[in-house]
């Protein structure tokens, strides 16, 4: 399992380039935007996907939360009320009505949203998709002990009271505790579903691009087991899903093109092969031995270069700026990296160059970033001052500068200084246990050593990496993490990463004296309706986070996709940060 | 005297080892006729078993150097088991010559029933089904005195007692009416009461089958009970060969004399001190020059010119039909015989 690939499954957001779309640095402009655009798509054939994973993390619509999986299932199995437009480029980030006839009608300062269902949409058993199905689907994320992993926007935003411990008073459709509260928040009148929110939520329809808002027929729901065999209202249905082996999708004969303006199913069969080792996958891609294959995981860095240098593979690859930033979260709580000077020392000592080289170089991996908000977010991004723009900053690390800060730390925070410089102690970084992160640890160790610091590593099984970090008692001094905006608003970046003590905030900055002020400003920004003012607030907050070195050495990442010579219709679907699965076809 | 069935001439067997050549048996010659029992007596390492295994062609031809002849006078003609091709010798084994061993426990295959093992031997030289073989095995078991043979034929060797196992061995060896039976210490592992049973059985079987029997043993008592003629071996060589009574009453070699004088006898209650032969047998790798027994022989000083140390004595016929390998004169020997205490 090559690290970048593996890790990608564990960054949990993908980016909407921007609704405003104007300031967008278009994705997919880096290396030839491939895809034989001239060829006409053909129907039929079998399309293969190959991956090292044993299974999809989740298949249950309420639990799917990785960009790739959302794009995959949205294209084939589920229909949401609204969807992103399945086209290349900036236009792909615009919303279109899908299951609904419109993209949502807000009222009461966007505290109430109404969607009307499209007629003629049927489940795979032929029954019509009803408003009750939508309501039932929306209710499921409330069953927090069954529906794990999914996005929490609906739970957070629907007008249902919260209990003292922060959980919703509604416990989901299985236990039915507080059902009446939910029934008030989500109502059906005919084919119109109405959502009552607890606050103004101008982007609420974007939150509904998550399948968590997709309908589920109550009769087919089997709780946890629904994750294996969700019911389809899309153009395909699951013929077989065997973990560790394959998922086989076949055409859903009850689906009709008339009722769907978004999807265009081409292949007859779609097969996802699980558990293929990286050597095997790379072999397939390099030899083009299975030409109707799409690689869901990337190539190993070494093979990546070979593949991208081969002129024969010109039309089988994409190298784009992806929606992710990768960074190290500094645990600023007492007893950890509670010393700004030490954090700065680490920042300056960091050998970003070697780490980038290791992961494929700037061509494939990314460039040093200067903000938690990625530049592709447009409006909300502004270059920050300091950090990588500091004259002393060197991309390959500046141990001398680091030592200066360490010297300062000696007086400003002697305990922390003593610990990080003690060869028998040092500080500890959490890393997911993948081959590439283990390799990266070598470089990190060498860089820290050069600056007179000691670093240890705590490798956590990759599948439980974030779950383990989420336990604040388990978190160490520094934790590697990644993030992508859920849609083109830093409201999906700054608050989750810094201003809520939720499980996505690995800085533990609630202990920071500046936290209260930061949170207040963040909450205010979140509630702003003036987009420009809001953007400015986000920029200031970004600057503050960077100044505090809550996160260190972010990388604005890139992503690559490869596919076989028989696969056509490939483009990079910006908002999902992955393929536009729905347009893929197998060349005749 | 009938013509010999087996004629062994100048048989020499050596084994090359890391430490040197082991001359296990050296220039052995003897004959044995049908109906006759030849006993080969000697201590461990004297070469008695090695000789018999050579006759049977049971030495690994790669690890043993064998010379000389061992001629079987068969009805179909003479065969020299030393020089004959392996395959020819193999087809003589079991049929023309058979062998039984000291330890019947380890000599029987632990995983097969005794019936299987006997019928396997029978099947080699007889046409017939397995059933016939088992029938024959039962016959043989009855013959060698195993009670309830029909039942016990299906049992495994470990279910038999030592004596019964040796009976099975004998039965198996005799299943094809061999003309020659070599019994290599057949009773050494057995208790005396069982030993006498087995010796009795061997005598009976010899009569029944009119076999030539070579009995290899270290026990002079056993020899006295069953042998017609005796070869005494020492350090790989035959030192004395004679009719049974001659060996016991007119022993003609200091070693034989010494042996007879050194063993306590249950029939003599005089409590006299045993006359031990001093020292140890020599190593077969570095045999001393001259007579191998010289170092332990108390009479060698009687031989002039230090002859014992320089010349290996020949196996001379000192009395009629009585061969001895010694430089001493008959007179000197006869004195040693009659007054052992004085001479030795």
């Amino acid at each position: 399992m090559s690290g970048t690939k593996m890790a990608r499954g564990h960054f949990r957001r993908r980016l909407v380039a921007s609704t405003a779309a104007t300031a967008l640095i278009a994705a997919g402009v880096l290396v030839g935007t491939a895809s034989g655009a001239s060829a006409k798509p053909v129907s039929g054939g079998t399309l293969y996907f190959i991956t090292n994973a044993q299974q999809f993390d989740n298949v249950d619509p309420a639990r799917v939360y990785t960009g790739r999986d959302i794009a995959f299932f949205n294209s084939y199995l589920y229909r949401n009320l609204v969807s992103y437009k399945p086209v290349k480029g900036a236009a792909g980030s615009s919303l279109v009505a899908d299951l609904a006839t419109n993209t949502g009608v807000p009222s009461n300062s966007a505290k109430v949203w109404k969607f009307t269902l499209r007629p003629g949409v049927a489940w795979e058993d032929g029954k019509a998709v009803t408003c009750a199905d939508v309501k039932y689907g929306v209710s499921r994320p409330f069953a927090a002990d069954v529906i794990t992993n999914g996005p929490q926007y609906l739970v957070d935003a629907l007008a249902i009271p919260k209990l003292a411990d922060g959980s919703s008073a509604y416990k989901g459709p299985y236990k039915k505790t507080g059902q009446e509260l939910f029934d008030k928040a989500v109502t059906c009148t005919g084919t119109t579903v109405t959502f009552k929110l607890n606050r103004s939520f101008a982007d609420f329809n974007y939150a509904l691009t998550y399948p968590a808002g997709a309908p589920v027929p109550a009769a087919k729901d089997k709780g946890d087991k629904y994750d294996l065999r969700p019911f389809s209202d899309g153009p395909y249905k699951i013929a077989a899903y065997k973990i560790g082996d394959e998922m086989h999708l076949v055409r859903n004969t009850k689906w009709s093109q008339k009722s769907d303006t978004v999807r265009t199913p081409y292949p007859d069969d779609i097969v996802v092969r699980f558990g293929l080792d990286e050597n095997v996958r790379d072999q397939i891609m390099l030899d083009d031995s299975i030409p109707n294959t799409v690689n869901l995981d990337g190539l190993q860095p070494a093979n990546l270069r070979t593949f991208f240098a081969d002129p024969k593979r010109e039309s089988q690859r994409l190298n784009v700026i992806d929606p992710y930033i990768r960074y190290q979260a500094a645990n600023v709580s007492a007893g950890h990296l509670d010393c700004l000077d030490v954090r700065k020392a680490i920042f300056f000592a960091w050998n970003t160059q070697a780490l980038i080289d290791l992961a494929g170089g700037t061509v494939f991996y990314g460039v040093p970033g200067d903000s938690p908000v990625k530049s592709v977010l447009g409006l909300d991004y502004a270059p920050t001052k300091g950090n990588i723009h500091d004259p002393a900053y060197k991309i390959a690390g500046n141990p001398d500068e680091a030592k200066k800060y360490l010297a300062a730390a000696k007086t400003s925070c002697p305990a922390t200084y003593a610990r990080v410089t003690d060869p028998t102690k040092g500080f500890t970084e959490d890393l997911p246990k993948t081959a590439s992160q283990q390799k990266a640890s070598v470089l990190i160790q060498a860089a820290m050593k050069a600056a007179g610091m000691t670093v240890n590593f705590n490798f956590i099984p990759s599948g439980v990496y974030y779950a383990t970090l989420g336990d604040t008692t388990k978190q160490n001094d520094l934790s590697r993490a990644g993030w992508a905006a859920d849609w083109a608003n830093a409201s999906t970046v700054i608050p989750p990463l810094f201003s809520t003590p939720s499980s996505n905030n690995y800085t533990q900055n609630t202990n920071d004296p500046a936290f209260a002020a930061f949170k207040a400003k963040s909450d205010a920004a979140n509630a702003m309706t003036d987009r420009k003012a809001q953007a400015k607030a986000w920029q200031e907050l970004s600057q503050y986070a960077m100044d505090q070195y809550w996160i260190l050495n972010p990388i604005f990442g890139k992503g690559q996709e490869e596919w076989g010579s028989q696969v056509g219709g490939v483009y990079f679907w910006d908002p999902q940060g992955t393929f536009g699965f729905g347009q893929l076809y197998v060349k005749g | 005297m009938t013509s010999p069935f087996l004629e062994v001439k100048n048989l020499t067997v050596s084994f090359p080892t890391e430490d040197g050549l082991v001359r296990a048996s050296n220039d052995i010659s003897f004959t044995v006729a049908r109906g006759e029992t030849l006993a080969v007596v000697g201590e461990s390492g004297s070469g008695k078993s090695v000789t018999s295994l050579a006759v049977m062609g049971l030495h690994n031809r790669r690890s043993a150097q064998i010379s000389g002849e061992a001629i079987l006078h068969l009805e179909s003609g003479d065969v020299d088991t030393i020089s004959a091709p392996e395959d020819v010798v193999r087809k003589l084994r079991g049929k023309s010559m058979a062998m039984i061993f000291q330890d019947p426990m380890s000599a029987l295959h632990p995983y097969y029933t005794v019936g299987d093992q006997i019928s396997e031997a029978w099947g080699l030289y007889n046409e017939g089904s397995k059933k016939d073989g088992i029938k024959r095995a039962i016959e043989m078991l009855e013959l060698v005195g195993i009670p309830e043979a029909a039942k016990r034929v299906n049992e495994f060797p470990h279910q038999f007692s030592g004596g019964m196992r040796q009976r099975v061995m004998i039965g198996m060896a005799l299943v094809n009416n061999p003309s020659l039976l070599i019994a290599d210490e057949p009773t050494t592992a057995l208790d005396v009461t069982v030993q006498s049973q087995i010796l009795q059985l061997l005598r009976d079987m010899q009569k029944e089958f009119n076999m030539a029997v070579i009995l290899i043993t270290h026990d002079l008592g056993v020899v006295a009970e069953v042998a017609d003629r005796v070869c005494v071996m020492y350090a790989g060589k035959i030192v004395e060969q004679a009719q049974i009574d001659d060996i016991y009453y007119v022993p003609d070699h200091p070693y034989t004399i010494g042996l007879l004088n050194s063993i306590p006898r249950v029939d003599q209650l005089d409590g006299r001190r045993l006359l031990a032969i001093p020292g140890q047998p020599p190593s077969l790798i570095s045999l001393p020059t001259g007579c191998a027994f010289r170092a332990r022989c108390s009479l060698s000083h009687l031989v002039p010119n230090n002859l014992c140390a320089t010349k290996v004595p020949d196996l001379d016929e000192k009395l009629t039909g009585h061969f001895s390998r010694c430089h001493l004169t008959e007179a000197q020997l006869s004195k040693a015989r009659t007054a052992p205490g004085d001479a030795l």
Partner: protein
Amino acid sequence: MADVAVVDSEVADATVVQRTPRQIAWMRFRRNKVGVISACVALFFIFGAYLAPIITRILGLSNTKTYPETLNGFAMPVGGAGGMSLSHPLGVEPGAGRDLLALLLYGSRISFSVAIITSVASIGLGMLIGITTGYFRGKVDAIVGRFSDFLLSFPSTFMIIALALPLTQRVEALHIAQDNGARIVVLVVFFVFFGWPGFARLVRSQAFSMRERDFVMAAQALGASSWRIITKELLPNLWPTAIVFLSISLPGYLAAEAVFSFLGVGVQAPASTFGLVLSDAVTYWRDDPAYLIIPSAYLIIIVLSLNLLGDAIRDALDPKNSPS
């Protein structure tokens, strides 16, 4: 009577060259060319492992230092054969750019340490338990015997893999050792825990049968204490078994350590062991085959020479060849 004595000793002098059992084994071992060569090779590697800090210092290398100048912009070694050069005799590690020789020297140090500590500890424990149960028998023997049967039926590999992570955390929490130290502790404890019953069984059966041997009875008849019998009568006769077992288990544990670190259990990066280097090398096999071949060969040579050495020792000490 005097006549007997004199002649006896003459013959004994002529036939037997005086040698102690140890000398005989040593002589037999020396005669085995393959054994001697593999002993040299094994010693060479063992010394290499334990002198790693000195060797690397002499060569001006470090196992933690990265050599960015040896890598190109794609973090691949510059030059052929995995970046072999005078300053980096076995080339460098792609990706991070550490010196491969230093990695292997330090890596084999960990592997050897684990293997040696484990072998010695499990043999020591096995010897202690085996000899006591074999000699005293009775209740203790029955209980220990059942327990070791029980352990032998445990899927030790599974247990090690499944428990390595949580137990490492526990060892760290108890401040017994930290980080890779803790992982090594866990690995060694596991190996020993599941390793001793095999040897104890062997020793027990030998002690059991030896106890019935007349020389033990002779000692008992002289009034020797159990302690004396165990230490003076049994133990000296069990050393060859222990040495043979050691020579067999050493390469076994060495390879096992490599396997576990390959699987991601046991020692972890940024430290280097054979398993870690090899699992990393597999991802580079196309672009840098030397990086796969050299460590594989290095490991195979070590294990092979230890195995050959073990064979030679076994032949030299084999009781079947022994004159006793």
